[in-house]
């Protein structure tokens, strides 16, 4: 891959869906999603989120990832010049294939979430025999 320079981008905010209890902004994290024959892997950039502040919710085929960030400034600090905003991260996905709920591995490192989900083997078609009475 050729060397390329990174471009600055303002973070995209999540469109509002009802009001939130906690004030603040919510952003859409950039993600990579890829598949191997056995797994579905999701990688999301969520800078400022620690591992214990990530919430994953999988209901049927609907996956929600949520990362909560701490305050952007330390105690006694005031902002002088702000180029980016901080806020929580949220994103929802409809998964195409069924996921084994008991086999989901999530790791958080340097602000990058990696989610490895194992696919479920499709229920095998059953043949029902009709008995002749």
């Amino acid at each position: 891959m050729a060397e390329q320079e990174l471009q600055a981008k303002a973070k995209e905010e999540v469109p509002a869906q009802g009001e939130r209890v906690r004030p603040g902004r919510v952003f859409v994290p950039a993600v990579d999603i890829f598949e191997t024959p056995e797994t579905l892997v999701l990688v999301a950039d969520m800078p400022g989120v620690t591992g214990d502040k990530v919430t994953l919710d999988l209901k049927d085929n609907h996956l929600t990832i949520y990362g909560e960030v701490g305050p952007p400034l330390g105690a006694g600090e005031t902002m002088v010049d702000q180029e980016y905003y901080t806020g929580d991260y949220q994103r929802d996905f409809h998964l195409g294939s069924l996921i084994d709920q008991s086999k989901i591995e999530a790791t958080m490192k340097d602000g990058v979430l990696r989610l490895v989900m194992h696919k479920v083997e499709k229920a095998k078609p059953r043949k029902i025999e009709v008995k002749v009475a």
């Binding site: 950039a30 993600v31 890829f34 598949e35 180029e83 958080m108 490192k109 340097d110």
Partner: protein
Amino acid sequence: MPIFFREPAWNPLRELEQLQRRMNRLFQDTYGPERVPWRAGVYPLVNLSEDKDHLYVRAELPGVKAEDLEITLQDNNLILRGERKIPAEDKQVNYHRRERESGFFRRIVALPAQVKGDKVEATCKDGVLTVKMAKPEEIKPRKIEVKVA
């Protein structure tokens, strides 16, 4: 039939006021100073903050390792260089989405004051880089007494 609630008399002036408020909100949301915070347009975007004794420069660099970062202090410029590497996945994988970007970056951040090079600390935690610099004595807040003539 009893009247449960009565609508207040129609007031055209109030309706105008409401319209004006809505228009103001619309313009604020679209062009307001809040909406477009970034001016430099160079990666990484940084936030500059201060407290009584320190200046802080913060940047969001998810997935960037400390060894791939190069921070230099030159006069009153802070230079951030580095590379964001995304490790290659297995050859077998097929992508659904690929939004995360890799590449190198180089940015100069002009500091509002000259800081001492030996009093600079840089930490990278959870993908957020924080450079903490001690303020020189000259720019620390000082109390000025008013002399009585």
